[in-house]
Symmetry: C2
Subunit: 348 residues, 2 copies
């Protein structure tokens, strides 16, 4: 946008800020007073006409003031925004409330609440999912005649268990043997890797090797299959969204909440943010999903050892206090990453 004069930029900024604050279309008279430039309303009107032609502002009807369009917000966020430094009290609160020792799921839930409390919007955090997680160990325990409890230790904070139904009964000793065997073979290896090997070994050795190994492999495969599909997120403070007038009609809310329940679409959107480093923002229709047409999504990925594990962010109305929200999201992502890192470094 090099065509934008400095004055136009300044006014767009002032207009957007005021609109975000007040929620009302901003007229030329108000803007003249508000902006502090010693210009008459008439002059402002001329500038506004230019901005409107560029598609950065629009008026809901002829005799209302102007409001920023999605493109207007875009320019505002990308080039005009002066981000507020995060206030220390809040930063401390974020830090101290993160108990780095809790399990992933709880940790994620906490972060989600923190985000929603700090911004008064809806907080969202995906569960950490590492592309290359290594398997620390496997255990099998007999539950009842044909049920086996499989426990999969991935790291010192990620444990999954699932109940397997088996064709026949196995004794504790047998199961012990199986898990020993598997741990010997696979402990410390990448999970995808393990799965690949399992499959190929299963095929190869079906007849030749003894039954024990086949069973062990089969079980392990079952567990891994179930463990892997856990792409999910935790949402908090949805009800905060009900406070905003622009979202306050039931149809809009319904679509939004249904999307939250469905998860699929939201997840897909969040996935797009994984690649981007740092804060990423979707404004209104930019997301490409209808139910988010009147919302913005501010996200940031979090990571351990340079490997991105997930995305966190907030969802709120397009008209949100970006200059406050952006640093919060940014900081939270850093703090979460740090928390995950520090405990990951604990020696085994």
């Amino acid at each position: 946008m090099p065509e934008l004069t400095e004055r136009a930029q300044f006014l767009l900024k002032a207009l957007t800020e005021r609109y975000i604050r007040e929620g009302q279309p901003v007229g030329s008279r108000t803007l003249a007073r508000d902006a502090g430039l010693r210009l008459s309303p008439a002059t402002i009107r001329n500038v506004m006409a230019d901005l409107e032609e560029l598609g950065l502002v629009s008026s809901p009807h002829t005799s209302a003031g102007r409001i920023p369009t999605v493109q207007g917000y875009r320019v505002f966020v990308d080039t005009l925004l002066s981000v507020k430094p995060l206030d220390d009290a809040l930063l401390n609160e974020l830090r101290t409330n993160l108990d780095a020792d809790s399990e992933s799921r709880d940790l994620v839930a906490t972060v989600s609440s923190l985000l929603s409390d700090a911004t008064r919007l809806a907080g969202i955090v995906t569960l950490p999912r590492r592309k290359h997680a290594s398997l620390q160990r496997v255990e099998f325990l007999p539950l009842s005649e044909k049920k086996v409890l499989a426990i999969l230790v991935i790291s010192d904070k990620e444990v999954r268990n699932c109940i397997l139904r088996t064709e026949q009964a196995y004794s504790a000793a047998e199961l012990q043997q199986y898990s020993n065997f598997l741990n010997q073979q696979f402990a410390g290896r990448d999970i995808d890797d393990v799965r690949g090997r399992l499959l190929s070994e299963l095929r190869e050795t079906r007849e030749t090797l003894d039954r024990m190994m086949a069973t062990a492999l089969q079980m392990a495969d079952q567990v891994l299959g179930q463990a892997e599909q856990g792409s999910d997120y935790v949402l908090a403070g949805q009800t905060n969204l009900m406070e905003f007038q622009e979202l306050c009609n039931v149809a809009t809310l319904r679509h939004l909440f249904e999307a939250f329940n469905e998860k699929r679409q939201i997840l897909h959107l969040l996935d797009q943010c994984v690649e981007n480093e740092g804060v990423q923002i979707f404004i209104g229709e930019e997301s490409g999903y209808q139910m988010l047409d009147e919302c913005s999504l501010v996200t940031a990925p979090y990571s351990v050892d340079g490997q991105v594990l997930g995305v966190l962010g907030v969802i709120g109305p397009t008209r949100m206090a970006y200059e406050r929200v952006i640093p919060i999201v940014d900081a939270t992502a850093r703090i979460l990453s740090a928390a995950l890192n520090s405990r990951n470094k604990a020696p085994y």
Copy 2:
């Protein structure tokens, strides 16, 4: 209500049914046509005046029809309602969709969805919580230097694990020893019982016995303490509630959804239904909670071996199709109980 003539009862029933169907206040003319009695509107009006005096119906304003009051619904539900027999297709769907082998939490989530789908309302199911669960066994696995994974097997479908931080490092062998010891001592016993013993033993033997046992007891106590607090429920289909006009203002919805998130109040209400056997209904303000003023709650407890484990039900607007909803809730509770029972009987 012996003062109610047969005719008055019949008309109250007709009025309530019509109002539930149409959602509009019912006038005397309509009712005269609808009820099939060969009475003129004027006569009906007289009866209505009586019903109004008894507090069973009311009119939103002078020249509108009548709608049932909470007391009116009460009489309707308690004495007038003709419950529809459940249609077999639905029954089958409920049965087949319950995978009796999944874990409690998943099972509960499924039931919740089934309820909400079948009724087009919000389904709610509390997690099973047995007063006297017996401990099947305990396992400890080393995770990292000062972290231990504790696994608590309660039944062949209920497993809890939690990560303990310990003061010092323990070897796999040590942990094995501990769990062996605990299993020997406590396997098969009631969990509360176990906890009590743990505490007393801890006190008694602090100095006398060897450190191993003390640690084992301490760990077990930690796990049990964490495992027990799990009073919770799973909700499904909240968004269904947004379809109803009477709930369609944002303030009402907000209170409702906030209560859903809080859980405390709802849980308290559900707890009251545990004692009652069979379907229990709270209509409007009867619940005593403001956010449910315009809602009704239809619940039924589910149980295994005559022991009530939890409550399930649906939440919807006061104006709901009770004659359809009640049998669904009832049947679902039975089916869930049966499912839990059958698999519980599997020999160990």
